[in-house]
């Protein structure tokens, strides 16, 4: 009976799917809409960058490779962390109270009751398209080592962003609303992360390496594979740290969550 967690995860996933497929056309269009919305942004950037040969030494395909890491990790992220991203709404709807009163882990329920599979297809799909377009043209030698590194970097990138969502969800327990913080620390920083951080002012670089470490989601992993000259200004070790940063951040955020959950207050009647 103890090993029924996967079965329950399957049941929750089926329920989420059923919920989306109540409106079948809308469900499919959602994936398409997310894909096109994000692709439009990339197309605008693509045509802008065509006017330049390189951006601080990065050509257009290397930039697309950078973007692909961002989208692939986000695609996986919203399968597992949508419940944390939208934690405020879950609390307000009373669903979190329901989770608390069940004999199952809170994070387990938050993850599997809220997986956004259709947006994941949109974001992840775009990430894969960008990867396919760019991977063959950026001079990466794909062998067992680079493939393993790439996969570990993806896992680390997902964990870094997941830790940010988990940290913000935990702050929600104290502050009741963290949408502005999410806008500031996640969405704005993610916009910077589409470009090589070396083009930004030193203060932004510090934030992106040490505060909201998006640089470890795509810039440093891309540097390991592409070895661009602007890496010279950072320690080489940074190229190998993504899985560690992800794991470490997630453990810290999880400890913060475990400590704070006892202070949760139901939203009232």
């Amino acid at each position: 009976m103890k090993n029924d967690t996967l079965h329950l995860a399957g049941v929750y996933t089926k329920t989420v799917m059923k919920s989306w497929f109540q409106y079948k056309v809308d469900a499919v269009l959602r994936s398409l809409a997310v894909f096109l919305r994000e692709a439009t942004g990339i197309i605008v950037i693509y045509f802008t960058l065509l006017k330049f040969d390189t951006l601080n030494g990065w050509n257009i395909y290397e930039m697309l490779f950078l973007f692909s890491l961002l989208f692939v990790t986000y695609g996986i992220l919203i399968i597992f962390f949508t419940g944390l991203r939208d934690f405020g709404g879950t609390v307000r709807s009373g669903n979190f109270d329901r989770f608390i009163l069940r004999p199952r882990g809170l994070l387990f329920q938050l993850i599997f009751c809220n997986a956004d599979w259709f947006a994941a297809i949109g974001h992840g799909g775009l990430g894969i398209v960008l990867f396919v377009i760019s991977a063959g043209k950026v001079g990466v030698v794909w062998n067992a080592a680079t493939i393993v590194y790439y996969l570990l970097a993806i896992v680390g990138g997902v964990l870094i962003q997941g830790a940010i969502f988990l940290f913000l969800a935990t702050l929600n327990i104290y502050l009741l609303e963290t949408n502005s913080l999410k806008e500031l620390f996640y969405w704005n920083m993610r916009k910077f992360a589409g470009y090589p951080i070396s083009i930004f002012h030193k203060s932004i670089q510090v934030i992106m390496i040490y505060v909201v470490p998006f640089a470890f989601v795509n810039y440093f992993p891309a540097q390991y594979l592409l070895r661009k000259s602007d890496m010279a200004q950072y320690p080489d070790i940074f190229m190998y740290l993504t899985p560690l940063v992800g794991g470490g951040m997630y453990l810290l955020a999880y400890a913060f969550w475990r400590f704070s959950i006892r202070y949760y207050k139901s939203s009232g009647n």
Partner: protein, 310 residues
């Protein structure tokens, strides 16, 4: 089973109450008196500002980590405003998910499911999606869902809203059966008749304070002891001189006597009347919990007026 020690939270102020195991307790009070807050404190969804709350022998805090696997399994909680079932799933598959969540062995699950669906009458719409059900149908299914895993402690917030008389009766008999097996239940309700039918103990909340707590009979004796006897006489005139009747009214052969049941019983009054009269018909109106609440409200008004004068 549940113990509040000088608990203050929101409107609740200095509430101390002990609800023993195996008893069904009703919590009554007007809207905003703190009934739902009391239940949320009991299950740990709210933490007291002052005082302490112990439920099932443990401090009622938010369960996390290891505790999660212990406390909620023993609890069945239904709040009027909290969604309990997945709206886009059928009643049956909601129950199957719940059986899995509570790690119920298959055999026990189906036995309980069939029993509850028959008793609470949701077998007939078990394949319907929850979002298509009427309020009463949904409430029947929700009540079944909280009883499914056979909790030790049941907290029900306004459970009879939307239920028809048959469903109320089914709920009452289910709770009585489970009480005999040791289930502890705390119910809040606006409908005093529902509470009276099920609860061995009643707690009265008034403006966040525990105004009264005890058996139904005790509360009635203390706060609404006035009985009304209506008589239709065949002959004679009753001699009321020696009876401690508060007031009476007569219209030819019809008499109405109002008296304090703490001072004299209906049987004693009737016995005295029968010495001088022949009685054709008699009816006695006993006060109910509605009268208790009215009396409390009345006392509150009197105190407010008194304070206004001084």
């Amino acid at each position: 089973m549940i113990s509040f020690e000088k608990v203050s939270k929101f409107i609740l102020s200095e509430v101390s109450i002990h609800i023993p195991a195996g008893v069904t307790t009703g919590v009554i009070g007007v809207t905003g008196s703190g009934k739902t807050t009391l239940l949320k404190l009991a299950c740990g969804l709210l933490q007291p500002e002052r005082g302490s709350v112990y439920t099932l022998g443990r401090e009622a805090t938010i369960p996390s980590g290891r505790q999660t696997k212990l406390l909620p399994k023993e609890l069945g909680v239904l709040f009027a405003h909290l969604p309990l079932l997945q709206p886009e799933e059928s009643v049956r598959s909601n129950f199957q998910s719940r059986g899995l969540i509570y790690r119920m062995p298959k055999e026990r699950f189906w036995r309980e499911y069939h029993r509850l669906s028959e008793r609470l009458g949701f077998a007939e719409f078990q394949q319907e999606k929850v979002q298509t059900l009427s309020l009463g149908q949904r409430r029947r299914a929700e009540l079944g869902a909280v009883l499914l895993h056979q909790p030790k402690l049941l907290l029900l917030d306004e459970p009879t809203v939307g239920l028809d008389q048959n469903a109320k009766e089914a709920l009452r008999s289910l709770l009585e059966e489970r009480e005999a097996d040791g289930l502890t239940t705390v119910i809040t309700s606006h409908d005093m008749s529902d509470i009276a039918a099920v609860c061995g103990r009643i707690a009265v909340l008034n403006q966040g304070r525990l105004y009264a707590y005890g058996s139904r009979e005790l509360l009635l004796k203390k706060y609404a002891p006035v009985d009304v006897m209506q008589l239709t006489l065949r002959s004679g005139v009753p001699n009321l001189e020696d009876l401690p009747v508060k007031s009476y009214a007569a219209d030819n052969d019809k008499w109405m006597l109002i008296y304090d049941s703490n001072h004299i019983t209906s049987a004693e009054i009737l016995r005295t009347i029968l010495t001088t009269c022949s009685v054709q018909e008699v009816s006695i109106h006993k006060p109910d919990l509605e009268d208790v609440l009215m009396r409390i409200e009345q006392e509150k008004t009197e105190v407010t007026e008194e304070q206004g004068k001084t």
